[in-house]
Symmetry: C2
Amino acid sequence: MATINDVARAAGVSPSTVSYVLSGRRPISAQTRERVQAAIAELGFHPHAGARALASSRTNVLALVVPLRTDVNVPVIMQFATAVVTASRTHNHDVLLLTKDEGTAGLERVAHSTMVDALIVMDVERDDVRIQALRRLKQPSVLIGLPADPAGIVCVDLDFEAAAAEALRHLAWHGHRKVALVGPSPAVYKRGTTYAERFLTGFTIGSAELGLETMTHPCEPDREGVRACLADVDAQLPGVTALVVHNEEALRMVLEELQASGRRVPADISVVAVCPRDVALNMPLPLTSVDIPAHDVGGLAVATAMKLLDGRPTEKVRLLPPTLVERGSTAPLAPTAG
Amino acid sequence: MATINDVARAAGVSPSTVSYVLSGRRPISAQTRERVQAAIAELGFHPHAGARALASSRTNVLALVVPLRTDVNVPVIMQFATAVVTASRTHNHDVLLLTKDEGTAGLERVAHSTMVDALIVMDVERDDVRIQALRRLKQPSVLIGLPADPAGIVCVDLDFEAAAAEALRHLAWHGHRKVALVGPSPAVYKRGTTYAERFLTGFTIGSAELGLETMTHPCEPDREGVRACLADVDAQLPGVTALVVHNEEALRMVLEELQASGRRVPADISVVAVCPRDVALNMPLPLTSVDIPAHDVGGLAVATAMKLLDGRPTEKVRLLPPTLVERGSTAPLAPTAG
DNA sequence: TTGAAAGCGGTACCAG
DNA sequence: CTGGTACCGCTTTCAA
């Protein structure tokens, strides 16, 4: 492999000049620059990452911590991950993949050994033990999620509270008064996954503000779970005219069960999904949905990390406003039912 | 951050001794070792990854290339990825995550800049352009999959041909003579994804060897696609008594459509799935399945990469034998139907 | 606008 | 069994 010295020799300049051509950190005459670039191309020179990291204290690598567990929504995780990788590349960074099960030790390992410049952590829980560890690191970190105490750490996420409010507002606008939330599985709540809690909060507040009659119910994403959930909804909120479904895995089954019980969507019951747009579009019926913008959130996390690395100012908590797109699964409440 | 020199000073030894304590590459007296380890612990010393890479020409990082496209089965991809990360950690390596869309350039970038010791590449196609690039790298690579010409590259995967044969053998043993293959979507075949082709080959050969009456049909994993596929199967192979489903996304819908058409599984029709065990177990009915051992394959890929790095001998192509587990979705053919 | 050279923090060879 | 030290390849300060 060619080194910077080989390039310097071939171009008839000093190694430092080659380095400056590469980094652009000082003016170089056009002539010199061209000679150097020609030599680089000819020799197929690629700077040695380790050497660079050693000399510059910059690795150009971001750590990404993903949950390994599969009770959490895998496709969404994957969307976040690919978004982070893609965004990182546009910022000239690569991504080191860590799994959550290494816990605090994994974070400390890659940080202390200077493998990464910053860390992006997914699947953050209410009182995540990893957060105190992150605070002690010399590298900055960005959470995707929102823990109980985000002090000293930067967080980005969808504004799930607003998302719930948005869903309710849409339904209320269409005249719906009785609305049920079909939530994630109990395990998700139990774990202290904050997006679930935040959505619930927004739902409750929104319900009160709009004067709606609502109920909420977790939902195990299998056939029996969905049936049980819908049965409870019908029992506790008779005459329900709309559902907000914050449970991707269960979504398709909810639609099927509604159909099985003889209810047409949206004629008999409206459904607002909370999910990535492609999921909403790939249902039997295109669903009105509040988008989970995994791509945007991942991109924002990376952009935020870059700001931190550059010492640029950053919001401590950045919650993206939700967008609701009306598709085929919601309709105004029929006058007779109002 | 403490350096090796700080540790050496604190322990009253030379830096090289500290290095040797860390690497175990030469005998150290118990006394010295303890003093050094105490100093390491006290100072919270962690070797600088870049410095280490520079001096040793070893990064202890593996590149993992995953498909970014989502027409491919996301949960399985994720299983492979987490298996690779987990296995890498047991070998004291970390994983750099690359997406397939960077193509050849991405591979060359991380290899030429010495960011990784070896590469693991998923979603390999028949005539994958990346393969020639991999051959030129100084780092070894392991493919998960099997291209047309694997010369010079090590490949690991499930033996999909044998998997198909195994599924048919199981059904034939139970007296089934008319069997249809519900395959992946046409797009998967079109792309030259070899696992699909290999399964098809195995199915065709197995069918001939067992003297079965069979047909094969790709299947778009949505409601209409599944319906159309099953309709074609019924039309072209009337009296079909068993299905082999090599399409995870479609699996649940296949079962539901069978039920909708009044056929009970396994009483009226047997179903063998080809999927990870957890998918087979999470269906309404636990399915007899040929396992896609993502964890094993990922682990094997990593172990193989380690062998290559150590200069130990390795099989060029390693195809894991399939295992079929009988669960509730297959039954002997009823005598009356035979 | 460019060059010289001192590190960055380890590794591993050469000595003893 | 241990120490001294020349690198590994690049960045960046100091000089010119």
